[in-house]
Amino acid sequence: MELAILIIAFAHVAIFVSRGGVATMIAPAASCYAAPRAMIFPSLTLAVVIGAMVAPQSGTTLSEINPKALFTAFTAALVAYGIARNISPHISRLYLVVAALIGRAAALGEGATIELRALIGWVAAPIIVFILATLIYRVICRVMRSSESHYLNLLQGSAIVISVATLLLFGAVGLNIGSQLKGMTTELWSAVAILGVIAVAVFYAGNKKLLRIASLREREFDVNPQSAIAIILSATAVIAFFSFDASAALVGAKATFISPTLVIFTALTACSWTQGRRVMSGEEQARMSVANIVALIIALVVGYLLSSLLQGGWNHNTDLRSLMLFVAIVAIPLLAIISLQNNMRMRRKSEQAREQAELLKENRRSLNRMEVEAMQAENENLRNQLELKRKEVMSVAMNITEQKEFIHQLYEKLKQIRKVEDAAEKDRMLDKLHTDLSLRMNFTSEIDSFYTQVEQLHKDFGVRLTEKFPDLTRQERRLVILLRLDFSTKYIATLMNISPKSVEISRHRLRAKLGLKREQNLTNFIKTI
């Protein structure tokens, strides 16, 4: 029963710790290499398990822990992460758990179990990884440049190296965790650790959400194969380096937990720096640093307070208690306020974004409405044109009928005239026919129809003309329209059934009525109405 609780507690902590880390560990490879991802997780988790199993027993950073310690560490780390993530989401969760356990150890009077040499390791790891990543990147670039190989061959070679290096990275992480857990406790704990790692492995194998997180990370890890190899190899080397007491002692440190997120981000920064570009802005970097420091402090304080409460009183180191109380009274409310402000700012931002989206939607809606209105107006115009055409067709048809009828009548009348014997009667009938033909030649109905059509086409102009010059007669209005259409005097004379001279006189009268000066052009003036 105790073992089962231990495994569950451990698995919870391990999942919390590895949640961001696993995605970050995959990201360099995933950003440039498209191996079937369904195959990645089982093999990578297996690498972690194997790493944990073969790990040597190292001097531990922490003293022995139990389910209660795990619970305290998990809760404190969760609280710290929850608050500090408002500043930046890039926080090393592993260090939070460690900080919470240190806080707990202090609360229980075990003294700060963290050793200076472990601290040296935590400081040395990013520095070493930075130097190593820069060196590896430069070497790879030089090798690729001097190589006569085709680029596709180099890519294929890189794919193999990246795959193997990623497996090694996961193995190194397993080694690091395993060595610490084995050193931390008895054989029972080793079994728990391995079973816990297996539980995590099962949790992550084929975890779709993690794939999504990994693909989100790809934005930050937009790197070429050389960088990916340099990042993965340097991170692997550093994590493995700090998994053994013997190797860690070379830099005056001891084997300790190393956050994969931290070393990978540092390696990425190193590669980007070598290429002369920046991974993230100065503000983002500052926020990340502040978030990590703040989260560590919160985890330490919450771990201490929680353990004290669980132990049933404040009966430990008084100075430390005073310090912790001070931090609890001043720092936690302060952080809560910062967190609250951050939340409010985020809310305001999202509110602004929503308002902007709403405004955009509204603009789109009005644009749609305008488009619909324009379309309706266009349709109306087309309908009018159609109506006009229909009338034209009707008019042509009626005209043809009328002409035919007239010609038929003419034919009948001529037939009758031919039959008439009396010369006087014949003259009278011929005179009548002449009159009829003269009348017909005026084309009154056609001209009327023409004016109707023109007025229909220039409806707006007609309205403006009536508004501005209401005193114009029907004949003058027609003249205005014909002038606007640029018809010549001769043509106007035919259409108005008057002589060209009369057209000139009508133009003169029209100028007077419109109040034009001598130098003003009549046609141009009409066009401006």
């Binding site: 440039c32 498209a34 191996a35 085709h150 680029y151 061959n153 294929q156 794919a159 960088s227 570009r277």
Partner: protein, 215 residues
């Protein structure tokens, strides 16, 4: 090692594809020259060769694409390489289309324009020609790309100038030509000029690819 063998086949195909583009350029230049000097038999041979080269290039491009998809895993690089090949393939299409249009439309080109037309063809094809070593450099020595694509931009600018000169000559100095003939000549000049524009696009693409390869 099997992996590398399969990739080697794709590499060879890429090289062969670029060689085909190079060959198509030579045939195009020869074809235009033959048309201008009314060597119609030789021109028809050029046209037949060009059609074959175009279909070969298309086939090769498809095979390379298949190879890239099935044998490589670097999505971004793969996409870049395929885009480059598509752009080069488009140039071969343009070459074939242009030569076919000469055959179909039979534009009337006055002999006094022959030299200008040949110069425009030379400059445009040289712009394309210089993209080939630049494209090959991407696969072997990317540091040489920048230097090579500068030449592409140079020839493109020269081709632009020559095309303008030719069009100005046609419209301002050749009064004996009908407007329709002038338009026809302008249309052909534009088509030949289009080659240098296509080579500029390839150069732009290579420029981006070289930056991506470095970072």
């Amino acid at each position: 090692m099997l992996f590398f063998k399969r990739i080697d086949k794709t590499n060879q195909q890429v090289e062969a594809f670029f060689d085909t583009v190079d060959q198509a350029l030579l045939v195009f230049k020869q074809g235009v020259k033959n048309y201008l000097y009314s060597e119609m038999e030789a021109f028809n041979d050029n046209l037949a060769t060009m059609t074959k080269l175009e279909s070969d290039a298309e086939l090769m491009r498809r095979e390379i694409e298949n190879g890239l998809y099935s044998r490589t895993s670097f999505v971004r690089m793969r996409g870049d390489v395929m885009r480059l090949l598509e752009r080069m393939g488009h140039i071969v299409d343009l070459l074939n289309d242009n030569l076919s249009q000469f055959e179909i439309e039979r534009p009337y080109i006055p002999s006094e324009l022959n030299a200008d037309m040949l110069k425009l063809t030379d400059l445009s094809t040289q712009a394309v020609e210089t993209t080939i070593p630049a494209a090959k450099a991407y696969f072997r020595s990317p540091e040489g790309i920048t230097e090579k694509i500068h030449r592409v931009y140079f020839y493109k600018r020269e081709a632009d100038k020559q095309a303008k000169l030719l069009k100005r000559k046609v419209f301002h100095e050749m009064d004996s030509l009908k407007l329709s003939e002038k338009f026809h000549l302008r249309y052909f000049a534009l088509h030949i000029e289009e080659l240098s524009r296509a080579s500029e696009k390839v150069a732009d693409q290579l420029s981006v690819m070289s930056v991506k390869r470095a970072y």
